[in-house]
């Protein structure tokens, strides 16, 4: 197997982008990534997209994007693993290049979510849960994460204050990211005053409905050895779990993320202590707290205290979600896993501007799908 690197990145503005279509978004991010990498030809495209069918009445995403990207009749596949579709597209691209089969592969992700009403969006996203034994009975994604929060608070004494701090911190980071959907700070009072969605989660505990796309160019490391802007992918791991939350042995942890991380750390020869910064899947505030624990950043049950300690803020021991995270940057579900990798790549290149983490040499991304039924972790390092 060959070592692989990311040579180029591209991210669109995230938000309610009425004037941009599903294909426009993907092509815009892809062209930016190709220009950044200075490549004009691709061997293959992996396009992460959760549910173009339910949001846009559009399937067959791979061919659509290859067509509109104008790169000729190259192979192109859509990769779907709910909200982990983007990260899964990248893992597929890494395997394709590492195997020696392809030399220049684009891994992208896209979701165009604002063409449907809020209710339809809730239904579309809900399709990532168990349709027969969760959704049918009235469960929604906020309600599943709310039940995880209740279980976590009961088992470990995690506080409402800790949930609030995740949201406040990520908005603070997002205020420094001009591409974020909500590039402004919020107060703890605003979180508690926002409407209740599913107890104990308020509206400002939840990531928003977002349009956006992101793309990266994956190449063999041997071709970019002298390129300081190339970023190495030294480890990745993937895992799954039961589709329904209620079938999990432990509903106060995300086992798929822990298993994916274990595989990624092993492949990269790293431990959680070696990670300088991370982008984690804060689809709901409790998810970020459980992610700290699953990734080994803090002991199990201590995620709440960890965020309150300031360790994961810019300037802290391990800044998490410097992009603003899903909460402030926005969560176009299929794009999220790739956008996380773009943020870490910018940071490792030293090009993250106001939100730059000084001396960042090793970063991690954690992207998960559903209520934790799939997970993908990547470890990225500067090119020595």
């Amino acid at each position: 197997m060959r070592d692989v690197a990311i040579l180029g990145i591209g991210v669109t503005k995230f938000g309610e982008l009425w004037d941009k279509s599903l294909r426009d978004l993907f092509v815009e991010a892809s062209l930016a990534a190709m220009d950044d990498a200075k490549v004009t030809k691709l061997d293959m495209i992996y396009a992460g997209c959760m549910t173009g069918g339910l949001f846009n009445g559009q399937e067959h995403i791979g061919s659509l994007m290859a067509d509109y990207l104008g790169t000729g009749p190259i192979p192109a596949l859509r990769v779907e693993s709910a909200c982990a579709s983007g990260g899964s597209a990248l893992a597929s691209a890494v395997i394709a290049v590492a195997s020696g089969y392809y030399d220049v592969v684009l891994a992208g992700g896209v979701e165009k979510m604002t063409d449907v009403s809020g209710g339809k969006a809730t239904e579309a996203l809900g399709a990532a849960a168990d349709a027969d034994y969760e959704l049918f009975l009235g469960a929604t994604f906020p309600s599943l994460y709310a039940m995880m929060a209740v279980a976590h608070m009961h088992a470990y004494g995690t506080t409402r204050k800790a949930l609030t701090e995740v949201s406040v911190k990520n908005h603070f980071h997002g205020s420094k990211n001009p591409k974020a959907q909500y590039p402004f700070e919020i107060t703890p009072e605003a979180v508690l005053a926002s409407p209740m969605v599913s107890e104990p989660l308020h509206l400002l505990d939840c990531s928003p409905i977002t349009d956006g796309a992101a793309a990266v160019i994956v190449v063999p490391l041997e071709k970019v050895k002298k390129d300081k802007r190339a970023v190495r992918i030294t480890g990745f791991g993937r895992s799954t779990d039961t589709i329904a939350l209620h079938q999990r042995k432990d509903m106060a942890s995300i086992g798929a993320v822990a298993r994916a991380a274990e595989a990624a750390y092993k492949m990269a020869g790293k431990t959680p202590k070696d990670i300088h910064l991370a982008e984690v899947h804060d689809c709901f505030t409790i998810a970020e707290i459980m992610s700290y624990e699953a990734l080994g950043f803090c002991p199990k049950g201590k995620g709440g205290e960890f965020v309150l300690s300031g360790a994961t803020r810019l300037g802290g021991r391990i800044p998490v979600n410097t992009s603003g995270g899903l909460k402030a940057k926005g969560h176009p579900v299929g794009a999220t896993g790739i956008a996380q990798v773009c943020e870490i790549t910018s940071q490792l290149r030293g090009e993250a501007g106001q939100r730059q983490v000084k001396g960042a040499r090793t970063g991690l991304t954690s992207n998960m799908g559903g209520s934790g039924a799939s997970a993908v972790v990547h470890i990225l390092e500067v090119n020595k």
């Binding site: 034994y133 039940m147 509903m251």
Partner: protein
């Protein structure tokens, strides 16, 4: 989206809590499975879930699925049964009571929703809080 055929197919679980139990290791599955995820066993005996259980975790949904808008806020719980199976269900006749982990519930047969554009009336299980 629930169609009449899909609803018909799921009746044994929705109406009668029909589960199955692995002949090799005894793990109980609801809904029934074809292969045991613990021991790989493929032989099962049919069982019914008990009608009493306890709340393993819960929430109250204020902004929910469009099919349940009229019922908001509604209680939702993951109920654990003595045989180890866990099932997600709504709280029956919920009127804003406080919910607690460990609270006892009794499974009741109730209307769940009028599904899809055809408005098929779907019945199934909900959890009634036991008064103690």
């Amino acid at each position: 989206m629930t169609t009449p055929a899909r609803y018909w197919r799921e009746k044994p679980q929705r109406y009668r809590l029909e589960a199955n139990k692995c002949k090799k290791c005894g793990k109980v599955f609801f809904p029934p499975r074809l292969v045991c995820d613990d021991c790989g066993g493929r032989g099962f005996t049919a069982v019914r879930l008990p009608e009493e259980g306890t709340i393993a975790t819960w929430t109250v949904v204020h902004t929910g699925h469009p099919a349940f808008t009229d019922e908001q806020p509604y209680g939702l719980a993951i109920v654990e049964f003595k045989d180890g199976a866990r099932v997600l269900m709504q709280i029956a006749d919920y009127h804003g009571e406080g919910l607690k982990i460990g609270q006892k519930v009794q499974v009741k047969f109730r209307k769940i929703q009028a599904a899809g554009e055809s408005g098929v009336l779907c019945y199934g299980y909900k959890a009634a809080l036991c008064s103690e």
